[in-house]
Subunit: 351 residues, 4 copies
C-alpha cells in the first residue's frame, strides 16, 4: 500500500462488501495507512487474491480478528462484521487505546431490550451502549468529534432519516403517518453464499422482504423520534432490486398544514445547505441511485401532492459508501479532526 502519514487503521471484516469498500476509500485517503486486514474466513490468504481489483495495490495477507492486539497497533478500528461480534470483542482496554467505528448494529439502538428483541440475541456489551455515538454525521457532528465509539448507521436508516429529517424537525409532517418504501441493490445482502442471493435468483426479479419486521425499523424510528421529540412508529418495507449498489427511499407522510413548494424547500435548505454530502435536487428532479454511485452523496428531494395533502420524500445513496464505508470514513475524519471530506472526493460514476 502507498505510504500515508498520520492515522493507522485496522479493519475487521475486511472481505465483506462494506469492508472492501473501506479498503478502497482508505487507500485513497491522504492521512491513513491500513495496518490490519482482518477476515476470519480468509486468514493467511492474500487480500488481493480475494478482491483482484486491488491486485498490485495491496500485498498484505488477511489477519484474524484479535481486537486486543489490533488496538495496540492502530489508531482506529473499523468493525464491518456480523451483528454481535463487535459487542462480544470490545472492552475498556480496547477503547482506551483505539477509536472504534462499528459498522454493525450493535450500538445503534439505545434501548438494549429493544435491540435484543429485534435482533434476537443477547447484547454482550450493554455498558458501552450509552457512550456510543450514532454516527449520522449531518445530525450528530459535534458528538461524533468527541466520541471513542461510533455506531455507524445502517444503510436504510441513513437514507430514510436524511430524507425525512428536515420536515419532521420543522413540524411539517405528521409523525404518525410516515411510510417508508425502500429499494436496495444486492450488495446490501452481503457476500455470504446463500441461494437467495445467487445471480439467477435476483436478476430479472424484484421482491419485498422483511415486511413489517425488518431490523432497521427501530433504528429509523429512534432517529425520527429524536427529530420530533416523541415516539414514532413507521411502516418500513425494503425491496431487493437487481443492481449491485444503491438505495432509493420513497417516503410518504401527511402534511400538518397547507404548504408551498418554497416552504418545504426551505426546510431542507435549513439543514442541508452547508452539507457537502447532501444534495437537495432541483424542483421536480427525482433522485436516481446512478447519480450517486461510488460516491458519498445523498441526493434528496420531495413532491407535494395537494390532492391527498401528503408529501412524497425521496432519497438516494450508494449503500456501500454513504450507507456504510463512506460514512465510516466521514466519522473517522470527524473523530480525528480532519477535513470531513478527506478520502471521499469520488465523483459519482455514470453510466
Amino acid at each position: 500500500m502507498r505510504r500515508k502519514i498520520m492515522i493507522k487503521a485496522g479493519i475487521i471484516g475486511a472481505t465483506g462488501y462494506a469492508g472492501s469498500e473501506l479498503v478502497r476509500l482508505l487507500l485513497g485517503h491522504s492521512q491513513v495507512e491500513i495496518k490490519w486486514l482482518g477476515s476470519r474466513s480468509y486468514v493467511g490468504q492474500k487480500y488481493a487474491g480475494i478482491y483482484q481489483n486491488f491486485f498490485q495495490l495491496i500485498d498484505e495477507k488477511c489477519l484474524d480478528d484479535n481486537m486486543e492486539e489490533l488496538a495496540r497497533q492502530v489508531d482506529v478500528i473499523f468493525t464491518a462484521t456480523p451483528q454481535g461480534l463487535c459487542a462480544s470483542l470490545i472492552n475498556e482496554g480496547i477503547l482506551s487505546q483505539a477509536k472504534v467505528v462499528d459498522l454493525s448494529a450493535d450500538f445503534r439502538i439505545k434501548d438494549v431490550k429493544k435491540y435484543e428483541q429485534w435482533y434476537g440475541m443477547e447484547h454482550k456489551s450493554p455498558q458501552f451502549v450509552e457512550e456510543a455515538v450514532y454516527g449520522l454525521c449531518e445530525i450528530n457532528r459535534e458528538e461524533i468529534k468527541k466520541a471513542r465509539l461510533i455506531a455507524n448507521p445502517g444503510c436504510y436508516p441513513t437514507c430514510s432519516t436524511l430524507s425525512i429529517y428536515p420536515l419532521l424537525k420543522e413540524g411539517l409532517i405528521d409523525p404518525n403517518t410516515i411510510i417508508i418504501d425502500a429499494k436496495s441493490g444486492t450488495s446490501g445482502a452481503g457476500r455470504g453464499a446463500k441461494v437467495d442471493n445467487l445471480y439467477c435468483e435476483v436478476n430479472e426479479n424484484i421482491k419485498a422482504y422483511g415486511v413489517a419486521s425488518h431490523r432497521h425499523t427501530p433504528e429509523i424510528e429512534d432517529q425520527l423520534g429524536y427529530a420530533c421529540g416523541k415516539e414514532v412508529l413507521i411502516n418500513f418495507t425494503p425491496h431487493l432490486v437487481p443492481m449491485n449498489r444503491g438505495i432509493l427511499v420513497t417516503a410518504y407522510a401527511s402534511l400538518t398544514k397547507d404548504v408551498t413548494y418554497e416552504e418545504v424547500r426551505a426546510a431542507y435548505d435549513k439543514y442541508y445547505e452547508k452539507e457537502q454530502f447532501v444534495r437537495v435536487m432541483d424542483k421536480d428532479i427525482c433522485p436516481q441511485t446512478k447519480w450517486v454511485e461510488g460516491s458519498n452523496y445523498v441526493d434528496v428531494n420531495f413532491k407535494i401532492d395537494p390532492r391527498t395533502k401528503r408529501v412524497i420524500m425521496m432519497g438516494a445513496l450508494d449503500n456501500v459508501v454513504k450507507g456504510a464505508a463512506g460514512q465510516a470514513v466521514q466519522n473517522m475524519n470527524l473523530m480525528f479532526g480532519l477535513n470531513e471530506a478527506e478520502g471521499l472526493y469520488q465523483i459519482p460514476m455514470c453510466p
Copy 2:
C-alpha cells in the same frame, strides 16, 4: 403461421412490446388465426425481421392501421397503440363488424373530462366511453362477455386493483389512507427510441417517476372507488426497475378495525378462490415478479402490522402478459365464449 380454427384477429401496433406479446400468445391459441399485423412504422417489412424470435413462425409483412378494412376482415381487433389513436379511428361501422380490445387508455376512464385532463388531449370518441367495458376480468367478467368494446386495463391498475380490491370491498381498510408504491420493469416504457430508456441509463439504477402525477392514478382511483362505493384519492408512485418484465405493487392502508390473519385471508379467498389467474400466496410469502414471468398470473399477499394498525398488500404480475396482452386475450376469450384460459397456459419461467 399455424392454422387456427375460429376467430380471425388483427393487431394494430403489433411491433410494440405489448403487440408482439399478443402475437406470441395468439400464435399459441388454439382458436385464433392472426390475419393482420398492423404497424405504422414498419409497413411492408417482414414482421419476423423486426422480432426474430418469430423467425420461421411468421412469414407475413406488416400492414398499416386501416381499421375500417381490418374490421371487414377480422372478428376481433386489438389496438396496442399510443393514447388517442384508437379513439381517433373507431366508429359504429367498425364496432358493428368486429369486437375491439383497446390496450391503450382511451376508454378506461368514464369521466371524459378527467381523461382529457390527465392525458392532455381531446377525446375523439366520447360517444363510446359509456359503452366500453373495463376489462378487468376477475371483477367485470359478466359485462365483458357481452361487450363490443373493451378498455383493457393498464398494467399498474391491474396489479394495484387486484391487490387491494378484496380488503376495500369488505370494508377492512380505510379508503382515504391508501398509498401505492409500484415498481415496474422497463418494457412498460415501450419500444420507443428515447435516451431515458437506453440500457446504460436504466441498468444499475432505480428511480421514481411521475410522482403524484402519473396517468394511471385516476384509473386506479376509479376502480377502487367502484369497490368501496365512494370517491377515493390515493398516492401512486411508480418506479423504473432494471429488469425487462414485471410489476410489483406494495400498497399500504390503515385497517378499519383489529383483524386477524385469517379474517384478511378470508377476504382475499372470497374473491379469488375460484380465480385461476390470481394466486393468493401462502402466509408470509412475498410475491416476486420472477414467479409470474411470462405467465398470466397475478400473485398477491398481505401482511398485517399490528404496531401501526396498517396492512401491507403486495401484488406481482408480468406487465406484458396480465398487465397487457394476456389480459387482452383473456378478455377476448370471454367475449367469444371460449375457455377463459385458452392460450394462456404458459407456466412462469424460472430462472
Copy 3:
C-alpha cells in the same frame, strides 16, 4: 398436477435449474404425468415452496433419489444430477424397467479413461457407456428412438456441435483450425450456493473460465470427430455473462477452399432444412440469445471472411431448454414414439 395420459416420468435432481425446467416443460406436455420429484436436499418439502412459480400447479413434496423404487413406478427417469451420481445409481434392473435420460456427463464420452481424466473421478458404470446413445436429436435421431439410456448432451456441446457440424461434415472447414469462443448465462453454473455465482459477483462483469481445460472440450471434440471421421483438437473458451439464460457460440475455422455464401448456406440447409428446432437465420443476421429464450430452438448462422479465408459460425440456444431440459424432453419424445415437438411448442419470449 393436471392429468396426463400416457407416460409416467420421474426426475432426480428436480430442484436444480435443469430439473425445474424439466418440470415446467413436462407440466405442459400432453402425454406425460410427473410421478416423482426427487431432490436429496429438499426431501419432504413441498416442491412449490422451493419454486413458487409452480404455486398451485404442483402440490407434491420432494422425494429422495431411490432410483430402484423410481424405476418400478415410472416409464422414464430423468437424472439432472451432479456428475457421477447417475453412474453410481444405475444398473440393469433399472434399465430393464424404465428408460433413462441422464442430463449429467456420465455417459457422454465413449472413452472411459478420457472421462475419468477430464472429470477427475472414477466411472462407476463403465459397462453402460457403450450402450448409451448421445442424445443430440438432430444427428442421432434413429439411435435415440431405440435407446434405453440417453446421454443428454451438454449445453455448450449442443450449441457448438450444431453450429459447426454441417461445414465439418461437408469438408468445407479444416478440423485442425477450429476455435470455439462461447458465452453463457449464469443458470449454467447451477443453483449451488457459491460466492462466485452471487449476484454482485456476476452482475456488471464478464470473464473467461476453464480456459483450455473445460470439461465440455472432449465432448465437443468427440462429436466433431465423428462428423469428420478423424480426431479433432479444438480450443474451447467459455465465458460467464450477466444474464440468466442463453448460450452464444462464436466459432472460427479456416475454409478448405474458396466458397460462396450460397455454397456454405447449402451445407447448413442440407442438414437442417427439415429440422424444426434448428433455424438457419437469413443472411447477415447474427443469432441473439434473446430470440430463443424459453424455447427449444437453436439459431445458427455464419459469415465468410474472404480476407482471412476463415468462416465465423454462430449459434444461440437457451441453455436450460435446448441445452438441457428441452433436449431431454425431445429425446423422451423420440424414445416413446411421440411427436418430437410435443411439449416443446414454447415460442421465444421477447423482451
Copy 4:
C-alpha cells in the same frame, strides 16, 4: 468547478459517455481546469441537468463546437465526437494554439484510403494524418510527449493490442493465426437514442455484431503490424454484453515454438513490468472486467494450450476509461510533461 492550476481544457462532445467520463476524470485532476463543455445537441442547457451526477459540482452550461474560438481559450481540446467531425474542424491555426486529443477514429489509420474504405466517408484533413500520433501510451510514449495531435485509440484496439503485443513483438506467435473475440459493455455503443440500445433489447441478451466488418479491425491490424514488422490480417468479432462498462478480449494465436509458462510470462513482463496501468495477472487468474471498473487499468493474462499449440491471451479494461477518456487524460499528461497517472488514481470498484 473547483479551481485548478495549470492547464485549461475544452471538450467537444461533452454529453456523450466518453465526454462525460472526461469531465469526471478532469474534475479530479489537480492540474486541469475545464473551460468549455461543448455539445451541439444541448447548447445553452446546464451540463449538470443532463448528467445529474455532476449536480452541484458543475454549474456551467453547454457550449457549441466552435473549435477556432475554443483553441484561443484553452491549452488542450478533447474531441469526443462522431467520426469525421474532428477532421472537418481542425486546421493549422487550431493546432498552433492548442493541443488536440481526438477520441474519434479520424487520425488513427495512417492509410487514408483504408480509412475512407472502412469508415465510408471522405477524410477532410488528410494533411494531418501523418503528424498525428497514435496515443497508445504504453507503446508510443516518447512520440506522444512531443505531439500536437493525438489519435486516441479505440476501446477494442487498446484492449486487443495490449493483450497481444508482447507475444507478437517477441515472435512467440504466428501473426497469420490471430483471432480476437471481444465482448463489450453497452456504453461503447454511445448515448444515441436507438432501438437496438434500449434496455429491453440489450438486457438478458448477447450477440455478435459487425462480424468480419467492424471498423476497429484495420486499426488493430495496423498496430499489430507495427509490432511484428509485417502486414497482419486478423479476425475480430465484437459482442454486445448486458453491462454498462467493460471490454474483455479473448485472443487466440498459434505459438511459433514450444514455450513454457515462464517464457511467455517473461515476454509480458519485459514490456509491462514498469507500466503502472497494465497489470499482468498471476498465473491462472483470468481477467474480469469488474476488476478494472472505473479505473485506467488494463489487466492481461494468458494460457498456453499444449494440446493445440495455441496461446489464449486475455485482456480487460473499462472501455470508458482506459478505452477512451482515461487514456485521453493519460495522453494529455504525457503531452504536458505531467505525472502520467495524475487524475487517474481511481481504484477499481467492486462490487
